[in-house]
């Protein structure tokens, strides 16, 4: 039973190589690779692996001067961001702004797969890069 209207939509993991990472996540751990998508405007290749009601997203930079490329240079591969699905992204953004939370996106924008998303700045979350994702009314 779900005990929260908010769920983990996905967990983003920065990887040097999706092919190499799949050796652990798919072949070892046993997750299924659902698809690989290129998000040109973010400079990232994304491998999607469902895990329960959530997804694991392996993020491979398409170049050094991309958000994931810079993360890899600075911190190395590993956990990159947490995406949480909310019922009403506009209401959540308004609420967070009212509390003084610093947002990277003050208005929702269209992310991978067409969902409305907005990033919260890690300085307001205790160091975690969080992406809000609008719940898909079809799912």
């Amino acid at each position: 039973m779900s005990t929260s209207e908010i769920k983990i939509q996905h967990l983003g993991v920065a990887v040097s190589s999706i092919d190499d990472a799949l050796i652990f996540w798919r072949d070892g751990l046993g997750l299924e690779l659902k698809e690989i998508e290129v998000v040109e405007e973010q400079g990232v290749r994304v491998a999607v692996l469902p895990i329960g009601e959530s997804r694991l997203e392996l993020l491979e930079a398409t170049g050094a001067e991309t958000p994931v490329g810079r993360f890899l240079s600075r911190r190395g591969p590993g956990l990159h961001h947490l995406s949480v699905e909310v019922d009403d992204i506009n209401a959540k953004i308004a609420e967070l702004k009212g509390r003084g939370v610093r947002l990277i996106d003050e208005q929702p924008r269209v992310g991978a797969g067409g969902a409305l998303i907005a990033f919260i700045h890690p300085s307001s979350t205790g160091g975690v890069l969080i992406e809000l994702t609008q719940k898909d009314s079809d799912s």
Copy 2:
């Protein structure tokens, strides 16, 4: 619908202070604080906040010379580990060992809440500290 027999059991976030972190995660994001537990042998206070079928665990070190204390010194607060729930932890450990995956715990041990757990070394996962958790047969 769940598309995987493996799910995210919890996501561990290293925090400087649980009290401060709750200002964002509970009051801002809207998660419920279920409990705070001290795990003496790991030197950590753990605040548990359900999120969908998973949980968020805010990890506050009880001292500098603890796993979370050393993580905070080295990397600062942020995403710390991913716990994945598996049906049969012994089978999964055997399978991973057979594939040459490096385990921190080659045998399951009892973790917080009494569950059997085993950590996988980040060197085998692309930089992510992963905890396997045996599925509770009651849940």
